[in-house]
Symmetry: none
Subunit: 220 residues, 2 copies
Amino acid sequence: MVDILIVEDNEEICSLLADFLRAENYTVSIAKSGEKALSLYEKYGARLVLLDINLPDVDGFSVCEKLRKTDNVPIMIITARTNRDDKLNGILLGADDYIEKPFDIEILLAKIKGIFKRRLAHEIISDGDITLNISNETVEKNGKFISFSAKEFELLKILMQNKGQTLTKEFLFNRVWGIDSESEMQTLTVHIKYLREKIENDPKDPQKIVTVWGKGYRWT
Amino acid sequence: MVDILIVEDNEEICSLLADFLRAENYTVSIAKSGEKALSLYEKYGARLVLLDINLPDVDGFSVCEKLRKTDNVPIMIITARTNRDDKLNGILLGADDYIEKPFDIEILLAKIKGIFKRRLAHEIISDGDITLNISNETVEKNGKFISFSAKEFELLKILMQNKGQTLTKEFLFNRVWGIDSESEMQTLTVHIKYLREKIENDPKDPQKIVTVWGKGYRWT
DNA sequence: TCATTATATCAAAAAATTATTAAGAAGTCC
DNA sequence: GGACTTCTTAATAATTTTTTGATATAATGA
């Protein structure tokens, strides 16, 4: 697993970034196209993705979506200031951070450090008797490990990461199952039940994953 | 056994490196081609290989793979910055460290020291009733030696080195079988079974090498 | 209250993933 | 070359996860 995956087709910017990041002792891997980005990520992973949204082949948007779907890895987006459209806005809102070209390398470094710091603090989320370890993909209740399936874990993770917030069913569904999933919304409620079965003291009277009628669910 | 095997075809760089390293009291042997590198390594061994990836005959890639496959000796790669392609990325990611030409000799020395230090600390991994000795390639369970094949050992090593972390099947496969191996993923699961047979108290109910469904495996 | 709508539950089918087995290929060592 | 171990493959079995559909239960508002 490398620290930073750089996705950027411009040769100059690319080596500039790589040099600076290496000087800061980050390990980096480099992709010059969207496709390569995905294959590199699949093979070696990354703790942070630095993504130029204007790529030659697969556009940055779909790279972004795919990455977010699979691993929820932090993504920092590099973008030109021009033609800021609706689609771009959407992506940026979901990104952990973004920076506009032309950018000051020092500011970029500061942002990256910030993301790592924040994430590190959030790699283990503990709340009440539930502890969720994102990097190890483990969940403990009262110190005892409980096994979770991939979907269950993802769902619980998103809920806990947004403590106190009501998340709509659509939002949860899109995050866990993906935007163009063919599954029914029904599947979500069933998974909510599975979660409650595993983590609630009394699954019949859920205190942790609360139903918000007509909206969705909330972790409290 | 020498301390450092230098693999570099450029005469000047070669003697420069040798001088500096000898000045730091390392013993060195020198190979000016890939073929010679392999034969020298076979004859005298080395604690660390300093490998220029751009060689005249056998390219550095295959030297690297061969070394890694046989002994897993630490390899430090010297590379020019240009044409950083997928293959190179792959090699670099697996390398213990790498440095780009032109390099500062002081930085190189620091890196080499770092590698020796790290390796020394990790030569024996002990966890529960399993003890793994990396330099001897031996494994003990409750003090009794168990024989392991090369692939089995490598797999166990990576798992134990990353205790508690879930390692994806792809990651494990790339590490043990190599990036462009033609083997099937199936091979991995079979080897996992072999490992379990040897180290688990009840192979039917594995406690050490745990399956993480949809992801991979984890040493606990 | 009653009709309506939203969520919960259940169990079984479907899909996906991993485990097991055994046999043959490939490599190693005398 | 023969005996041996290791590695790979392919087929099948076993297991787990995911989805679905039917039905039950609960909340909401006229």
